[in-house]
Amino acid sequence: MSKKVQVQTTINGEEVEFLCEPRHSLLEVLRDNIGLTGAKEGCNNGNCGACNVIMDGRLVNSCCVLGVEVDGCDIQTIEGVGSPVQLHPLQQKFLEHAALQCGICTPGFIVSAKALLDKNPNPTEHEVRYWLAGNLCRCTGYDKIIRAVLDTAEEMR
């Protein structure tokens, strides 16, 4: 075990300070240190997107980022999408379109889709599918997820 490092960061708009070992991933820190369990571990090697968060405005796999690397960074997790009083349009559309079944991949998809719509408010179906190719879902066959994202884009324009 090596010495813990102190890290200061902004998570979902709030300043957060934590201690972690260098070998702890950002995913572990979010889930085990800070209690934000919305990001999930599906594969721990960057192949499923269940751990997606937005870091300094970019979509990343938090299992492939070390906790110690995020000092001074701005992080948005699923818990920061929408607000306690109002769902983000993506969240609302996912519910309306029944774009989730077991729901384990849903936080990753919503964070990922939000990153897409933040950058490209008018994506084609192909662009949506391409962007989300790093998010695996085993329950829905993706159909309703893609529809929900396209519908959200249309509504938000």
């Binding site: 979509l59 070390l66 990922s112 962007w131 790093g134």
Partner: protein
């Protein structure tokens, strides 16, 4: 994961000192999308992880027509394809940066990291080779330059010696009437490691009827990414035609010496080399015509 110490040198010199001190026990961290997974799966060991993202030269991204393109070794893919001017000037490079690993990976992974990982299947390496990329390396004896095609020496191994690390990559300004293209074959439509990947860069004459020169490189068919000089040379002065492209692709195919593994048999990979080289050359020619 085994425990390691974490260092964030702020200058090239500091990084070299650290790497020289720890030798094989140190690993350079840029995007981390290879290294962190390898450390977790015990495929690489490190006592010290040296994060170079604090070094200005590693983060530099600049292009101008007179001096060409400079990409710091830690610059993530998304910054590269997100730069409209660079994207327009180097579409061949964009092909690769936009398909590496999925959107989340592209938020962190860098060209430098892909090269230093030394995988024979590295998607960004063939386009870097055919674009004439040069690697600038810093070490205890100063800096040196190595052509990208000479950088990888064996699966997972590179020319980097003790205390050395890759600072940046440099690409000459594209010539007039030139075009570059990269495609790989994978079993799904994204997210896979290349079964075979081919990059080509061509320069055509003014009326686009003949090749002035061409460079062709192939991934995943040899212990390192392969620069097939002969295949490109076979196009010099030739008419732009199906026949000349076919001939070049046969040379590339003959140069392939793949292994059979779970991603493909040697026979299949050899066959694909020919198929992809044809398609990629056509793609490069098309871009050259449109440039």
């Amino acid at each position: 994961m085994h425990a390691f110490d974490y260092a964030t040198p702020q200058s090239v010199a500091d990084a070299v000192v650290l790497l020289n001190e720890h030798g094989e026990n140190a690993r350079v961290l840029a995007g981390g999308t290879d290294l962190i997974v390898q450390l977790r799966e015990n495929r690489r060991r490190a006592e010290v992880v040296v994060d170079i993202k604090g070094i200005a030269e590693a983060n530099k991204l600049s292009y101008d027509v007179s001096s060409g393109l400079t990409i710091g070794s830690a610059v993530p893919c998304y910054r590269i394809y997100g730069d409209a001017v660079i994207a327009a000037a180097y579409p061949g490079l964009m092909d690769a940066t936009s398909l590496v690993g999925g959107t989340g990976i592209q938020g962190r992974a860098s060209l430098g990291g892909n090269l230093c990982n030394g995988s024979p299947a590295g998607d960004t390496i063939p386009p870097m080779i055919v674009l004439g990329g040069v690697a600038r390396i810093a070490g205890p004896d100063g800096t040196r330059e190595v052509a990208v095609e000479d950088f990888c020496t064996a699966p997972g191994r590179t020319v980097l010696a003790k205390g050395e690390f890759l600072i940046s990559l440099h690409f000459p300004t594209p010539e007039e009437h030139s075009g570059a293209y990269y495609r790989r074959f994978i079993s799904r439509n994204e997210m896979d490691i290349a079964v075979v990947g081919v990059g080509a860069s061509v320069v055509l004459c003014d009326d686009h009827s003949r090749f002035v020169s061409a460079r062709i490189a192939v991934a995943a068919v040899a212990p390192t990414p392969l620069f097939v000089r002969d295949a490109g040379d076979a196009l010099t002065g030739q008419a732009v035609s199906d026949e000349s492209i076919q001939k070049a692709s046969e040379i590339a195919q003959a140069a392939a010496r793949p292994i059979s593994d779970m991603r493909g048999t040697a026979e299949y990979r050899t066959h694909l080399t020919g198929v992809l080289t044809r398609r990629v050359l056509n793609g490069a020619v098309q871009r050259a015509k449109e440039s």
